[in-house]
């Protein structure tokens, strides 16, 4: 159940099932601090995928600080999306707020596929994802490409990746690990001479 309440600074915020999904003191400051903390990760990325729409203050703050970065925000709750769109209106122009029915269906969403085809960072706004924790965890892991579903989704969205990580041939190294890492990527490389393959090899050298 969703209810509207006033934060101490006068902003309208939401409670979900009786619990706040952003701070009730100063949601604008919370959003600023959150973006500041993550800003190095947004730099040079075409898209920021945000897990958790919440009350939308953090999305508006990203839009304000990173005008040229595309924002894709995912949530399981349509009411939160509606509230953010209504509250922040113009501050969220160009941001895509997407309701996710189930994690398995994100791979079919054309907006998400377009986002992950280029450079992107995934960030999670924890205050609004503490409820339905497991679902949000799975969604985040998938968007990060760190589980099998996510890995296949990202590779499928990127044309040239299919050449170097042939799922039919090289999935053994990926599927043997619960979390997909650079090491499993490296082990799953097929014999090819692409620059993408060289890049994976280079990155492998940066970790022990």
């Amino acid at each position: 159940m969703i209810e509207r309440v006033k934060a101490k600074d006068g902003q309208t915020i939401l409670k979900l099932n009786g619990r706040q999904i952003c701070t009730s003191l100063n949601p604008l400051r919370e959003a600023r601090d959150w973006v500041k903390k993550n800003s190095r990760r947004f730099a040079e990325m075409k898209t920021v995928i945000v897990i958790g729409v919440g009350c939308g203050f953090h999305l508006a703050e990203i839009r304000r600080r990173f005008e040229n970065t595309k924002i894709v925000a995912l949530d399981f709750n349509q009411e939160l999306i509606d509230f953010s769109a209504e509250t922040h209106g113009l501050d969220l122009v160009g941001a895509e707020l997407i309701k996710v029915g189930s994690v398995t269906e994100v791979a079919k969403n054309s907006t998400i596929r377009a986002a992950i085809a280029g450079s992107y960072a995934v960030v999670r706004f924890m205050p609004c994802t503490n409820q339905q924790l497991e679902q949000y965890n799975e969604l985040e892991c998938t968007m990060l490409g760190r589980n099998i579903l996510g890995f296949k989704m990202v590779v499928g969205a990127r044309a040239r990746m299919g050449e170097i990580f042939n799922p039919k041939v090289n999935m053994a190294a990926i599927t043997s690990n619960p979390t997909v890492t650079i090491k499993s990527l490296f082990e799953s490389l097929g014999p090819n001479e692409t620059s993408e393959s060289l890049m994976v090899r280079a990155l492998r050298e940066l970790v022990n």
């Binding site: 990325m45 620059s195 280079a202």
Partner: protein, 558 residues
């Protein structure tokens, strides 16, 4: 022409490459030279006027993306791709990789350029070097050879700087550095006494000499230089350690002034001083490009043969412990830090005093007196261009003659001088003779020298013959055992002989490691081994010609 240089290790390595960069600039005055360094060292840009652009590489951000599970799997990939695209948009004609690691090898391969110098790796992990010098760095230095070239020389020769173009470069101080120094100096009135800058902290505990030893050394120095101005130099983040040093010295009535300066400020401070006493630090490499003199305390993994104080006539103090220098990666395996303990504080104090007085004879006496525990070496540069550290003990000349003949022969081989119709064995020997003139051996008609050169000649001849026999054995074995199988084609007696000869020649594991290549067939191993044996044999042949030429030259002068 556009040239991109990769220098992706530490600050000291970038500074160590400065002479090569200056040579590159002199060789290509109109070229646009860019250098990629780790983002944390981007401040070095102000000290590299020979470079047009310093590009920061955010290795830390990439590594975070790789090891933190809440980062998108392909985030580091995307960042690296974007970085490479940006580099490629500059359309470089040449890439020079001064970083001898696999990451930089792949990065070099990713950059589109017609000419690649230094390690470049393909998708099978196979390396190409584009230069005999960088191949030498990988194969010979990497195999743990005993007599090697200084990294700075390898870089200079590797990028094609000829000996006559090798210049001693001095970095110019910057206005910001001068202002920082002046601000520091305002709190510490100028005196006419000897000014000694001390850098007691290195980035690696293994390389550190204990604070108590530093203080004792300074107490000894105070006996001859009671009014010397002692300055403890450190970066702002080292404040706690420097303060501890200053306090420990004050307790012994030794006054040390702390100075926390940026790299630019440090350069001005060093330029204004008479001497820097330091461990193996980036400041040492900075001082090598300044006007001050250097005493280096080389402990732990500091390998003076590779990175010793570059400036000629510097002093390098090290331990006589057999484990030194140790590996960079491994922790000290001994129960105590013996290399640091064996370097006596009174020796360091006395060396500083003698060095300030330019008392080389006094330093030689100290080298003999403390030879049980320590080594005192003087950095020198040969006429034929290469750096070496001269051991100041009196009985070391023979070894140095042999070592320098070894280096001269390698230089000859790597520069492919031996392939020329009129190879300049005579000129090279003349360089060696000129060097020996410094020791007054040639004019004195030293019989000892003649005998020693004959010994080297005989040993070289014998080594060359042993290598030729091994080459014949390997070739025969390849024919008889069959090269298509995975069967080991090296029998035990050959392996033993190979181990012995690489020990005699000081080649580390240059030969035997070829028999242990795992991923390829017997034929591949055999070819690799043949190449290495041929190169080692060729080196001995060149050395033989040089020693004979030198011997004849000395006989003519007698």
């Amino acid at each position: 022409m556009r040239i991109l240089v990769l220098s992706l290790l530490r600050l000291g390595d970038i500074l160590l490459a400065a002479p090569a960069l200056a040579g590159l600039r002199a060789k290509n005055p109109k070229a646009e030279i860019h250098i990629v360094v780790n983002q944390s060292f981007i401040a070095v840009a102000s000290l590299l006027p020979m470079v047009d652009k310093v590009i920061g590489f955010d290795r830390e951000l990439l590594q975070q993306g790789l090891v933190e599970a809440d980062r998108a799997l392909f985030e580091p990939f995307d960042r690296l791709q974007s970085f490479v695209q940006e580099l490629n948009s500059a359309n470089y004609d040449q890439v020079i990789n001064l970083t001898q690691n696999r990451f930089s090898g792949y990065l070099s391969a990713l950059i589109h350029a017609e000419d690649k110098v230094g390690m470049s790796l393909n998708n099978r992990g196979q390396a190409s070097f584009g230069s005999t010098w960088f191949r030498y760095l990988n194969n010979i230095v990497g195999a743990g050879a005993r007599t090697i070239f200084h990294y700075s020389d390898i870089f200079q020769f590797g990028v094609g700087i000829s000996v006559d173009k090798m210049a001693v470069i001095k970095l110019s101080e910057t206005a910001a550095g001068r202002a920082e120094y002046e601000a520091w100096r305002r709190g510490h009135p100028y005196t006419n006494e000897a000014k000694i800058v001390l850098q007691c902290q290195t980035s690696d505990d293994k390389k550190n000499w204990p604070i108590e030893s530093w203080v004792k050394a300074l107490e000894v120095l105070a006996l001859t230089y009671p009014k010397a101005e002692l300055v403890a130099l450190g970066a702002p983040f080292e404040k706690a350690k420097i303060d501890k040093f200053v306090e420990a010295a004050a307790a012994k009535k030794v006054r040390i002034l702390p100075a926390f300066l940026s790299l630019e400020g440090a350069l001005t401070l060093i330029n204004e001083s008479d001497l820097l006493v330091t461990g193996d630090t980036s400041i040492k490499h900075l001082a090598a490009l300044s006007s001050t003199r250097i005493i280096e305390i080389a402990l732990g993994s500091s390998d003076l043969r590779k990175t010793g104080a570059l400036k000629p006539d510097s002093i390098i103090l090290s331990s006589a412990e057999s484990c030194a220098p140790c590996s960079h990666e491994a922790k000290c395996y001994r129960d105590r830090h013996y290399c640091a303990e064996s370097l006596a504080p009174e020796l360091v104090g006395l060396v500083i005093g003698r060095y300030l007085q330019k008392d080389w004879q006094g330093l030689r006496l100290l080298a003999d007196e403390y030879s049980d525990t320590s080594r005192i070496q003087r950095s020198r540069r040969m006429v034929n261009g290469f750096w070496y550290a001269e051991d100041l003990r009196q009985d070391q000349l023979n070894q140095q003659i042999s070592d320098n003949l070894d280096r001269a022969a390698w230089k000859f081989l790597l520069e492919k001088e031996h392939t020329r119709r009129l190879a300049t064995y005579g000129s090279e020997s003349m360089n060696l003779k000129n060097w020996l003139d410094n020791y007054h051996l040639v004019e004195d008609g030293s019989r000892h020298l003649k005998i020693y050169l004959e010994q080297i000649e005989n040993a070289t001849l014998s080594n060359e013959e042993r290598l030729s026999r091994l080459i014949d054995d390997v070739t025969r074995q390849m024919r008889t055992v069959g090269t298509l199988s995975e069967l080991d084609f090296i029998d035990r007696s050959m392996l033993k002989e190979m181990g012995e000869i690489e020990k005699v020649l000081g080649l580390g594991h240059y030969l035997t490691e070829k028999t242990q290549i795992e991923r390829d067939t017997g034929l591949f191993r055999a070819r690799q081994l043949q190449t290495s044996l041929n190169e080692a044999a060729l080196h001995q042949q060149i050395k033989l010609k040089l020693v004979r030429s030198l011997k004849n030259m000395i006989l003519e002068y007698q």
